[in-house]
């Protein structure tokens, strides 16, 4: 059902009146909720001019928010590159003809997909130093955790993408005498990669959000510097709420742009009409990508 308007008729006079009443009732309820929040903010003196003015001063941005944002982008970017490598290696491993490569790859991918990212980061940050007898920098704990988790998710997506390439492609390649490695490197992966581009960009959104877990182990990302440290420096009880709202707006803007890029890439891939055919079953709704839904990890 592509157009949602098939669910209802064009409204006649009665339906229009009913819709208007519903709009007004719901709108009033929403306004009441907003008013309640406004009043609560007022009681806590959250509308104090000094509180919000802090966000207009350049020092708030240069000393707190921007360094935090850089920390977020740095961790997400490096983890993305590493998890792409991890994803390709393990996707190819799981598709291997040799059981001694296929089985361990499958175990690793399934294990890291099932373990909560926070548990993994805690193990790397608190547990690994006991084994190596060296302190673990929070940055590397975050990047390693993100790489293992997102790499595994991407490995599954890549595997689905490689298998979605029409079998005629690899058959033709074998027919002209290519070896297994050549077929994978020169025929399957390039075609799958093109189709996987939107999935990769959507996974970047997940990565950006997941860097916020670094806050829990004291990595200096946006939530740490832009909310925690900043609020500690604003002499006001409500500072933390104001800072959290600003940080949320930054995250939403960043991720909405990434989602828009993913959508643009998807349309672009579809327009050329040469994208490999996707498996369309009832279990895989149109909105889901070839790799399945990108999981809503925190």
């Amino acid at each position: 059902m592509s157009s949602e308007t098939v669910l209802y008729d064009h409204p006649g006079p009665r339906a229009k009146a009913r819709n208007r009443i519903l709009s007004v009732v719901f709108g009033v309820l929403l306004l009441l909720l907003l008013y309640w929040i406004y009043r609560q903010f007022e009681q806590k003196d959250l509308w104090a001019a000094g509180l919000w003015k802090a966000f207009l001063e350049s020092e708030t941005w240069t000393a707190y928010i921007l360094p935090g944002l850089w920390g977020t982008v740095k961790a997400a970017g490096l983890a993305m590159v590493l998890s792409l490598v991890f994803g390709v290696l393990f996707a190819v491993g799981r598709l291997s003809d040799h059981w001694w490569l296929r089985v361990p790859s499958g175990v690793v991918v399934e294990f890291f997909r099932a373990v909560p990212l926070l548990l993994l980061i805690f193990f790397i940050f608190y547990g690994v130093p006991y084994l190596t007898e060296q302190p673990m920098p929070p940055f590397w704990a975050v990047v390693a955790g993100l790489t293992l988790y997102n790499g595994s998710v991407l490995a599954e997506a890549f595997r689905a993408g490689i298998r979605a390439v029409p079998s005629g492609q690899s058959e033709a390649a074998y027919a002209i005498g290519m070896r297994k490695g050549q077929v994978m490197r020169e025929i399957l992966i390039p075609q799958a990669a093109r189709n996987m581009l939107p999935v990769i960009v959507s996974q970047l959104v997940v990565l950006v959000k997941d860097t916020a877990l670094g806050y829990i182990i004291g990595y200096t990302e946006l939530l740490q510097t832009g909310v925690n440290n900043l609020a500690g420096n604003v002499p006001h009880v409500g500072g933390i709420v104001a800072a959290a709202i600003v940080a949320a707006i930054i995250y939403i803007t960043l991720n909405t742009s990434l989602t828009a890029i993913a959508g643009w890439l998807e349309r672009r891939t579809r327009r050329t009409g040469r994208a490999p055919r996707r498996p369309t079953t009832a279990a895989q709704p149109a909105g889901a990508t070839a790799g399945g839904m990108v999981e809503p990890q925190g």
């Binding site: 098939v6 669910l7 209802y8 409204p11 959250l46 006991y130 909310v227």
Partner: protein, 224 residues
């Protein structure tokens, strides 16, 4: 494995996973109800409802869960004075449930909306042709078919929810990841067994559930 021969440590482990179980079940129910309502709003003829659903999805899907949970504690509880229970642990638990279900509902809504897109237009047109209202078309014709198409995505959303509930540890609930951290700090000599037991529990429970959802999705898929 001698770490877990100490009953106190076993207790920490069991308590941690009980919190995860309770968080997942409570937030799962709320997220499903709110998510279906949001999806219905997003396809409804009333513009205000559509806008509300769209805004919810865009705001909460793009905010880190850590920030949402953080906001539930410092915003809803500390600043707005929303107290959900007199018991400190239970209060944190319910704040966590609010945060988790707010976040997960956005994903449930999008999954159901993409499920609605798999229902052929003829189904809704036929329903309208025999005089069904929007509510009847949605609840009796479209949603039952959409629901069967989204079992697999909903399954991965609930598995993610179970994993995400570890983040509630941030606001001081002794769930499994916090429990593991405390055990590791208490018993630095047994780091590997502790991690394998905690991570293994998640893997042993969640991997089969994933396959079950996959099998259920294939069985219940609408044959077209």
């Amino acid at each position: 494995m001698d770490v877990f021969s100490d009953p106190a440590n076993v207790d920490v482990y069991v308590t941690g996973f009980l919190w995860i179980l309770k968080l997942t079940l409570a937030a799962g129910v709320f997220a499903l109800v709110v998510g279906v309502l949001l999806a219905a709003m997003r396809v409804s003829p009333v513009p205000v409802l559509r806008g509300f659903g769209t805004a919810w999805v865009n705001i909460f899907r793009n905010t880190p869960l850590t920030l949402i949970i953080f906001f539930c504690y410092f915003g809803l509880f500390s600043t707005l004075g929303l107290k959900l229970s007199d018991n400190l642990n239970l209060n944190n638990f319910w704040l966590g449930v609010v945060g988790l279900s707010t976040y997960t509902a956005a994903f449930v809504c999008e999954a159901i909306r993409s499920g609605i897109n798999t229902v052929p237009a003829g189904q809704a047109e036929a329903a309208r042709a025999i005089g069904m209202s929007f509510r009847q078309t949605l609840t009796m014709i479209v949603l039952p078919q959409a629901g069967r198409a989204v079992i697999a995505p909903l399954g991965s959303i609930f598995i993610a929810l179970a994993k995400n509930s570890t983040i509630v540890g941030t606001i001081g609930l002794a769930e499994s990841s916090t429990a593991m951290k405390d055990l590791i700090n208490a018993r630095g000599d047994a780091v590997i067994p502790i991690f394998l037991v905690f991570a293994g529990t998640f893997a042993i429970v969640l991997i089969p559930i994933g396959y079950l959802f996959g099998a259920a999705a294939n069985r219940l898929a609408v044959k077209r």
